[in-house]
């Protein structure tokens, strides 16, 4: 069995406890306006272009069968819409200015890659996190990787938006030690507007998951103009205070990701808002704490 992988990040310290290896899967069921990994949204393979590294040698244009790469007055421009993601240009680029997003990786390969750092997990109380995109769109792949890792005593976490069918959760529940679960907004209308999907399934899944006895860390991307106001945060706090197995809430400050949108030739969907400052983050955390929930900031 194979998974569609965006990236594997080692020494990952913000995706669950301890030192972890995070596998990012490609393909998401939402399309959040602030997404800082836009290359993870589409389930299809894509080519990314890192302008800073390009030396303008033109090798990519020579091997591309469909004319994606064009050079205008020495400027390298990509016609992303023509790209079939055959990957020839990525192989030809000797300076790694082109990246392939969405390679296929077998369960065994992923397992072996994670296992390399097992000493670090043991020494730090870390493990493996599968993130995305939405990892549970590839729930069976996750389950197979976790099954093997658990045999080695490695802690396994899923970082999910929750925007999947409950069946997908059922597939991985027996092999998962922890969930990192995004709650973006309790208001369905706003949720649809900003993430492209309803929050109903997400909140239903969260309720059912909270009854399964597995620790859950709630993650709230803190987006000014969307969910960083007192009312939204208080509503989220109230919702969470009624659930079991919530170990903490982690607030993740919004940060700009414009260059990543340029990399894959997508328009940045986020309006110009400055990231929340430290005081705003502290204030948000305080509101959630008033609901009796342990809240930390990243």
């Amino acid at each position: 069995m194979e998974g569609r992988i965006l990236d594997i990040k080692r020494l990952s310290v913000h995706d669950g406890p301890g030192i972890r290896t995070t596998i990012f899967l490609k393909g998401c069921s939402l399309c959040c306006r602030w997404c800082h990994n836009p290359e993870s949204v589409s389930p299809k393979p894509e080519i990314g272009f890192l302008k800073k590294k390009c030396i303008g040698c033109g090798k990519c244009a020579k091997v591309c069968p469909v004319g994606v790469h064009v050079f205008h007055d020495g400027t390298h421009v990509l016609n992303h819409e023509l790209c079939t993601a055959c990957g020839k240009c990525v192989k030809a680029c000797l300076v790694d200015a082109l990246e392939f997003y969405g390679r296929e990786m077998s369960v065994e390969e992923a397992f072996a890659a994670v296992l390399e750092d097992k000493t670090f997990y043991a020494q730090s109380g870390g493990g493996c996190t599968i993130s995305g995109g939405e990892p549970l769109l590839q729930a069976e792949f996750c389950a197979e990787v976790f099954k093997r890792l658990r045999n080695e005593g490695i802690h396994c976490a899923i970082d999910t938006s929750g925007a999947v069918k409950w069946e997908s959760f059922k597939t991985i529940l027996p092999y998962t030690d922890m969930f990192l679960y995004d709650v973006k907004h309790t208001n369905d209308k706003l949720h649809r507007e900003h993430t492209g999907g309803s929050n109903r399934g997400i909140l239903d899944n969260l309720k059912r998951l909270s009854e399964c006895g597995i620790p859950i860390e709630i993650r709230i991307p803190t987006i000014p103009g969307f969910n960083a106001d007192e009312e939204s945060l208080a509503a989220t706090g109230e919702l969470l205070s009624g659930l079991s197995n919530i170990v903490r809430v982690r607030l993740l400050p919004y940060h700009l990701a414009r260059s990543k949108y340029e990399t894959i030739g997508h328009p940045d969907t986020m309006p110009d808002v400055p990231p929340p400052d430290a005081a705003a983050m502290a204030n948000a955390a305080e509101i959630l704490r008033q609901s009796g929930i342990d809240t930390v900031m990243s």
Partner: protein, 681 residues
């Protein structure tokens, strides 16, 4: 004791820049020189150890001194480096005689020098007997060696009395008569001895010993007697640390202080005061074991996180085990300290001469390619190992000849007088008076060699993407006109430090040869050579300058990679993979030391979680067999800004291969190396 360190810090930092020696306190340089010439002319038959002892005595009793009431430590003697000048005269004379008929060696392939700076006196004896006691134990014996020791310690006592006359009520006076009794007296003795040892042997990276073990009882006794508070002890330590910075302005290789494995209040006080004053010149070496309280390693990590990263952490239990395997008794092995950057040695019982010989592993690749063609990679690899073998034979021989010159060049009665075995045998350290006499042999440039061999294997023999002749042509042209091949070599061949078994296997093969080969080579003092695996920045520069273009894409003359890290920008899989690569090497084959440099981004080390991450990285490295580790935590943007605006980053320290310097004091090319390293984390 008034708490005024902060207010006079600047003055203390400048204390050696323009010392006001009292002209009435002693003789001018010319007078001292004339007296020396007269003495040499009158006593042409004197053994050199006696001439040195005599000159030492002359300087202590007649050279000018300066005393500073604001300082807590008396030390300033205007000795004009006369002992070193004389030593260098003898060195030139002896080396000329010894080596004048030798054919020229291959530039940049190896080096061998008379290294007198890497050692450690017996600090325990110094504190136990004091200067007077050390004089007395030599004075009762007869023979030239004992005479010399007696003469230098007599001289120290004379000097102390001169200082004491100008500094009534100071800690110095009592040291003329007896061993130190208070914490202040003990530190005064340590600093004065340190200065006099430099007067005898020159600037060096001699260890200051097991600091917390040596000074704890003095501190505890003072506390018990109500003579000193914890805060006062901390204040005193700041005056002590700042002297090391003041002496060099942070521009030399630092002085090593050893802490642990047993931890006490002095350990904590030392790190607290270091963090308070962020002094660059210190080198804190920590012997870590899992038996220590958890908070100890967390305190170290906290310092590192705060940018006070002049700290190297050692895997204590494995170091002790390694030292036992390499000839030290278990009791002595437990008393190891670190000399220089990463070199384990036994405190007060060993002359380990760690900076004596070095081999350029990268140059050997160049030599192998120049000498022949090879039908297979195995054949080339075999030739490479043979090349290393013959370079080791040549350089070891040269080193032994240097070693034999030692007694004629730099006898050290002050140092020898501290060591029990020198006293028992009646031999100076230069005549193998120490209990253990080993010679350091450092393998430099492993990374460049491994990456280059990996490129040859993949591109020439496995993928046949170019011929060996084409590759050689590219190197001969310093890659000019071969840009595509160069990019392929750089970016299409996996490199050392990424946990790639194919590449790492080459490193394992080389190191499995080097360790036993070097460790079984006899030296000229009844001991053996001991292999080390690291490359300090000076070696990376000097050897790099004399190494041509390499198959891994490196251009001619560029710095080699320091220590055992990945080449710049090539550790694409990050720190965990680097550690996994490095620990495939049996590092215990390098009893003269090895260290791994870790570069982290500040986002990884923020807050309490960050401290835990640093601790876990250290523990993981050691759990996998790592011997020593050190850290730099930087954002590349900050370093770029610091390069442009040094004035904004006066305190920004960077750990350079084994010591710290201010980032602003690095050469631009060296700043770029650190910026490039920070770019990839």
């Amino acid at each position: 004791m008034p708490n005024v360190f902060a207010s006079i810090r600047q003055q203390l930092e400048r204390q050696y820049l323009d010392v006001k020696y009292d002209p009435n306190s002693g003789w001018a340089k010319e007078e001292l020189q004339a007296e020396l010439e007269k003495h040499r002319a009158d006593n042409p038959e004197d053994p050199r150890i006696m001439t040195r002892a005599w000159l030492f005595h002359l300087l202590c009793s007649k050279a000018r001194i300066a005393v500073e009431p604001d300082d807590y430590f008396a030390d300033k003697l205007e000795h004009h480096n006369l002992l070193i000048t004389l030593r260098e005269e003898w060195r030139r004379e002896e080396e000329r005689k010894e080596f004048k008929n030798d054919p020229p060696s291959i530039p940049g392939a190896w080096s061998a020098i008379l290294d007198v700076g890497h050692t450690c006196p017996d600090w325990r004896n110094l504190l136990k007997y004091g200067f007077a006691g050390l004089r007395d134990r030599a004075a009762t014996r007869s023979g030239v060696f004992y005479q010399a020791v007696t003469m230098v310690y007599d001289a120290v006592i004379i000097l102390i009395k001169r200082f004491a006359a100008g500094l009534p009520n100071s800690a110095i006076a009592a040291l003329a008569e007896r061993p130190p009794q208070t914490f202040h007296e003990a530190l005064q003795l340590a600093y004065l001895y340190h200065e006099l040892q430099e007067m005898e042997d020159g600037y060096s990276v001699r260890s200051m010993g097991r600091f917390d073990q040596l000074y704890y009882s003095f501190y505890a006794n003072d506390l018990k007697a109500g003579r000193l508070t914890r805060d006062q002890a901390k204040e005193l330590l700041k005056y002590f640390w700042i002297k090391f910075f003041a002496k060099t302005q942070g521009k030399l290789n630092g002085k090593p202080f050893l802490f642990g494995p047993d931890v006490n209040e002095i350990t904590y006080l030392a790190f607290e005061s270091y963090k308070d004053i962020q002094c660059v010149e210190l080198k804190f070496h920590v012997r870590f074991t899992e038996r220590q309280p958890k908070k100890f390693l967390e305190m170290i990590a906290d310092c590192i996180q705060a940018g006070c990263n002049s700290i190297q952490i050692f895997n204590n239990d494995r170091q002790v085990e390694m030292l036992c395997k390499h000839g030290r008794s278990p009791e002595d092995a437990h008393d190891y300290i670190i000399i220089g950057c990463s070199e384990p040695s036994i405190m007060g019982r060993e002359m380990n001469w760690s900076g004596a010989a070095a081999l350029n592993l990268a140059k050997a690749v160049e030599l192998v390619l120049a000498s022949s063609d090879y039908a297979s990679f195995d054949e080339l690899m075999e030739a490479y190992i043979k090349t290393l073998d013959s370079l080791i034979a040549i350089s070891a021989d040269w080193t032994r000849r240097e070693e034999r010159l030692w007694p004629k060049v730099n006898p050290s009665p002050l140092l020898s007088g501290t060591m029990d075995s020198c006293l028992e045998r009646g031999l100076d350290v230069s005549q193998a008076g120490a209990k253990y006499n080993v010679t350091g042999y450092t393998a430099v440039g492993l990374t460049d060699a491994v990456d280059s061999l990996a490129v040859i294997k993949q591109l020439v023999y496995d993928e046949k993407c170019c011929t060996l002749a084409e590759l050689k042509a590219a190197l001969a042209a310093n890659w000019n006109g071969f840009e595509e091949l160069r990019l392929t070599a750089m970016n299409r061949v996996p490199k050392w430090g990424n946990n790639d078994d194919h590449v790492d296997g080459i490193a394992v093969k080389i190191t499995n040869f080097l360790g036993p080969r070097i460790n079984n080579e006899p030296n000229a003092r009844g001991g053996v050579f001991h292999a080390a695996l690291y490359g300090i920045i000076d070696a990376a520069r000097k050897f790099g300058k004399l190494t041509g273009a390499l198959p891994d894409g490196r251009l001619a003359g560029e710095y080699l990679t320091m220590n055992t890290g990945a080449a710049i920008g090539m550790d694409k899989n990050g720190v965990t993979s680097l550690i996994n690569s490095v620990t495939k090497i049996n590092l215990a084959q390098f009893p003269m030391g090895t260290v791994l440099d870790i570069m982290l981004h500040p986002s990884v080390t923020r807050g309490q979680e960050g401290i835990e991450t640093i601790c876990a990285i250290i523990r993981s490295h050691f759990a996998q067999g790592g011997m020593a580790i050190q850290f730099n935590i930087f954002d590349a943007g900050i370093l770029r800004d610091a390069k442009r605006h040094p004035e904004k980053y006066a305190n920004l320290q960077v750990r350079v291969s084994g010591w710290n310097v201010r980032f602003a004091d690095l050469a631009p090319q060296e700043q770029d190396i650190f910026i490039a390293k920070a770019e990839v984390v």
